[in-house]
């Protein structure tokens, strides 16, 4: 029997505390201060605070943990704690709430009102962080989370830089401070590059965490496990066996009071440029040689670089836009986009975008990849479906009607559902019981929610923990963001130059404009009916 070798090099922690060995505390988070800009906002109340509290309940936060909320709203620490307590109970019903546990957690919550447009504001944040740092021994380790409108990203980073809270670290130095930036990262290619240039003036790339919460979802992470831990799928994961791939992100909701933001963003910037492109890369990437952050992100960027550039003369045949009209969703009549609050009555903002892409590499050449994202669709669902080619000969083709069924295509379909129910299903043919050979297509389903009894952590929990631990694997790297904008830029420019003539062009509660179906029909394909 082989004896397990003791580690030859003791870590610094082990050297100072030999009791730590064998307790799986290798990735324990060091004491730090986590500052949230926009702490009074919706994102913090709904997502960030519940995620941080969940980490606390799991014992994943260090003893010396400080959460400092800041925004223009004036309130004191107690007011902030009360507000956060109410938000937690309202927005995180899946978390067990016990007053005692909350009271213990709340001792690490603090609030500093500050105007992020003024030097004094940043100076006051710095003073407060220094005080708290001394008390909680955070050692100057800071994470700044920008839960603010994108227009404030640079002013905040610049302000932090001017008071010395943000500074450039060498590549081989531990990345403190870290700055977490919410999407959208830029408004188009040039604004994204400009923002990147500014940020890289005061920080290095390994200090920047561009969050895309899709990447924190269990099923998204499972894409890699599914592909690279099962030997049966990878050999057929290519143009020889796959006919087409569809990535759908559909929401039944409209702009839900975010009309002003959405007027500037639209579906392409809000969903496609970030979430769907990340999903696309995960599905199409080559197996990385290791699971470290840079190797994985290197493979993802290769996919985007291999995307066949959009032919400027054929944009309308590979990109479709839409805006929803009045219609019915879940039995309720809902207004047209142009009738939503804070939306211009003649707005041309797109609420639906569909694209046909091709990846020009050995593995994927010739396989169309269809992306679609829309608001006020018939159903809320995000999924990736891999459509395999039909069998080479149609042995059961004499079964009348089977091959012609318009919405029941031949061929296996593998579906990775991201939301609302995370899971995987495989459509396959089987013989119907009985005296004749009759084929019936069935689904074999795996649902995360029912397969594993444990609570599934939220995407923000995973991503925030990764950031605290200094693991940027699930964050978007600068070159990925740039490549994504670069690919989509011709579409953005084309749509900006040519106003839509038929908006609104799809009914709320439908699956988008007819042109989207027509785009797939060119290749004899059609969107999966969901």
């Amino acid at each position: 029997m082989l004896e397990e070798k003791a580690p030859s090099d003791k870590s610094q922690d082990e050297a100072s505390n030999p009791l730590i060995s064998g307790l799986d505390l290798e990735k324990q988070v060091k004491p730090l201060a986590f500052t949230i800009f926009g702490a009074h906002g919706d994102l913090n109340k709904r997502k960030l605070l519940p995620a941080i509290y969940a980490l606390y309940l799991q014992g994943l936060l260090p003893r010396g943990f400080v959460l400092l909320g800041t925004s223009r709203t004036v309130m004191d620490d107690e007011g902030f704690r009360k507000l956060m307590c109410e938000s937690l109970q309202k927005f995180a019903p899946d978390l067990p709430f016990e007053q005692d546990a909350w009271d213990r957690f709340a001792t690490c919550l603090f609030y500093q009102p500050a105007d992020s447009g003024s030097h004094e504001g940043f100076a006051s944040i710095k003073t407060r962080l220094e005080e708290l740092g001394q008390k909680y021994n955070t050692g100057g380790r800071n994470v700044f989370y920008l839960s603010t409108p994108p227009s404030l990203y640079w002013p905040i980073i610049e302000g932090l830089s001017k008071v010395g809270l943000v500074e450039k670290r060498k590549v081989n130095e531990e990345a403190w401070p870290r700055v977490v930036i919410e999407k959208p990262f830029g408004h188009d290619l040039s604004s994204s590059l400009e923002l990147d240039d500014h940020i890289h003036d005061v920080m290095r790339e390994h200090q920047v965490y561009r969050i895309d919460h899709y990447l924190g979802k269990e099923t998204v992470q499972n894409v890699m496990v599914f592909r690279f831990a099962n030997s049966i799928f990878e050999p057929i994961w290519n143009r020889n066996y796959i006919e087409q791939i569809q990535i759908t992100n559909a929401e039944t909701i409209g702009v839900e009071g975010r009309g002003a933001y959405y007027e500037e963003a639209g579906a392409l910037r809000d969903m496609v440029q970030n979430h769907l492109m990340q999903l696309l890369a995960l599905v199409l990437m080559e197996p990385p040689i290791a699971m470290d952050a840079e190797t994985t992100r290197d493979e993802k960027i290769k996919v985007l670089r291999a995307l066949k550039p959009i032919d400027l003369n054929r944009i309308d045949s590979v990109a479709v836009r839409g805006q929803y009209d009045q219609g019915f969703v879940a039995g309720v009549e809902v207004p047209a986009y142009r009738a939503e609050k804070s939306v211009k009555p003649d707005s041309n903002t797109i609420t639906f975008a569909a694209l046909k892409l091709e990846v020009d590499n050995w593995r994927w050449a010739g396989v169309p990849i269809y992306l679609r994202s829309g608001k006020r669709m018939a159903k809320s669902i995000t999924e990736v479906s891999i459509h395999f080619k039909p069998t080479p000969n149609n042995l059961f083709g004499d079964i009348p009607g089977l091959s012609q069924a318009p919405s029941n295509p031949e061929g296996n379909v593998l579906v990775m559902q991201i939301q609302p129910e995370e899971g995987i299903s495989l459509k396959f043919a089987t013989k119907e019981p009985g005296p004749t050979t009759s084929v019936r297509w069935l689904n074999m389903d795996f649902r995360y929610g029912t397969a594993f009894g444990t609570r599934t952590p939220t995407a923000y929990e995973r991503l925030i923990l990764d950031c605290l631990q200094g693991d940027p694997s699930l964050y978007a790297r600068s070159d990925f963001v740039e490549a994504s904008w670069r690919y989509l830029q011709p579409v953005i420019e084309h749509w900006e130059k040519n106003n839509p003539t038929k908006f609104p062009n799809y009914k709320a509660g439908s699956w988008g404009p007819k042109e989207s179906d027509d785009m797939l029909a060119q290749r004899g394909h059609y969107w999966r009916k969901l």
Partner: protein
């Protein structure tokens, strides 16, 4: 102080109620979520032993079966109850996601108008569980979602916006219109989502012979239009299959008395039916198989009979006699008479008589009787059973339909 039930107990009792087929009210916008939660709770209960259910519960679904029904208020409650009975048997053989769409209509008899009806959509979920035959410790369960709404302007779109997203992708989706006209605006919003449409022609026709034949004028084009992009399944057609088989076998069996050549000697067809749609379809099928086309039609109101002269390479007189009965609607008998030199003169009772009796169809000819056993199940259940396994629109149905439409096009003689 009153005892407050434990949350876990409440959850268990709700799950148990769901599994035993009771309807559990759910938020219309969260039907899938509620279903997932109930199934999860059932599975957890099974593991912990909190629920007194079988050890092996299999949640199964091989197809989507949506039934749209006009609900209760106008005396159609029977239809809802009949459908529930029917689903009990069907869900065992075809584990399906059943979606029951109930459309409340104003009760004209009590002076109620559409404006009196509250405009709302409600939803419930329930499970249908069966012990698997031969495996006493295994249950197969499928789910039923009931959605109820009011018949108002835009009801089709509203109801479809709830029902369509509930379809399980990749599985066949059947839309069964129970009591709705095919050309009703109500069904249009559903058609993009369902590949197969099931209906009963009889629902589209009045119980008046002349009127019913006239109504085929509008009905048949609607069915043809529908069959362009959907598989159509007419229950009226499926229900006459045993009669078609009985007649076909009478001319086909080796030991039967009638030579197939006698088909060329038919001079007269008389069909007694309490279901005009079935009668007309049967006659149209026979005409198609014998290469006959309608020449002229005549209504004999006194005798509730519709006479059709048909011609191909010979002329044949056909007669549909309507016989209203309360129960067991369908074809009662078919009599074929043959040319005198082949037959037994002009005797009224001469020829071949195909007649339904309890669970059997008798074919009587020259003192010989043949029997075709009917399925043990309810005929309607058997018909739907066959439809759910069929792969396409029956081309013979479309041919019969084309001829049936011509029954009304020809010049009428009074």
């Amino acid at each position: 102080m009153a005892n407050i039930p434990d949350v876990k107990d409440l959850e268990s009792s709700r799950t148990m109620s769901f599994l035993t087929g009771n309807k559990s009210a759910v938020d219309v916008a969260k039907i899938e979520k509620e279903l997932a939660s109930l199934w999860k709770s059932a599975r957890d209960g099974e593991e912990t032993g909190d629920l007194p259910i079988s050890d092996h519960v299999v949640r199964a679904c091989v197809l989507n079966f949506c039934i749209l029904i006009r609900d209760g208020r106008s005396g159609d409650q029977q239809r809802v109850e009949a459908m529930n009975d029917l689903l009990t048997g069907l869900s065992l053989r075809h584990p399906a996601r059943v979606i029951l769409g109930l459309v409340n209509e104003a009760d004209d008899d009590s002076g109620e108008t559409y404006k009196d009806l509250e405009e709302k959509v409600d939803a419930w979920v329930s499970a249908r569980c069966h012990l698997l035959p031969g495996a006493k410790d295994k249950q197969v369960c499928c789910e039923q979602i009931t959605v109820e709404t009011t018949y108002k302007h835009g009801v089709g779109e509203s109801l479809a916006s709830v029902i369509n997203p509930l379809i399980v992708p990749d599985l066949p989706a059947f839309l069964y219109l129970s009591g709705f006209h095919l050309d009703a605006a109500l069904i249009k919003p559903f058609l993009g989502y369902f590949q197969r449409v099931v209906f009963e022609l009889a629902d589209n026709l009045e119980d008046d012979l002349d009127l019913a034949i006239a109504q085929t004028t509008s009905c048949v084009p609607a069915i043809f239009a529908l069959s362009g992009e959907h598989y159509v399944h007419d229950l009226s057609w499926s229900l006459i299959k045993p009669y078609r088989m009985a007649l076909a076998q009478t001319f086909d069996d080796d030991d039967v008395a009638i030579d197939p050549a006698m088909l060329q000697e038919i001079t007269d067809i008389e069909l007694v039916t309490s279901d005009i749609a079935q009668g007309a379809l049967y006659l149209a099928w026979l005409a198609d198989r014998l290469n006959l086309s309608p020449l002229s039609t005549m209504i004999d109101k006194a005798k509730s009979a519709y006479e059709i002269t048909m011609a191909g390479d010979r002329q044949i007189k056909a007669r549909i006699v309507y016989s209203a009965v309360e129960q067991g609607k369908g074809i009662k008998s078919v009599r074929l008479r043959f040319a005198p030199d082949q037959d037994q003169g002009q005797n009224q009772d001469a020829g071949l008589l195909v007649e339904a009796e309890s669970r059997v169809i008798k074919s009587c000819y020259k003192g010989t009787t043949e029997y075709l056993e009917l399925p043990m199940d309810d005929p309607r259940e058997s018909a739907i059973d066959q439809i759910l396994t069929s792969k396409k629109t029956d081309p013979f149905y479309l041919r019969a339909l084309g001829i049936m439409a011509a029954f009304n096009k020809k010049e009428k003689k009074q």
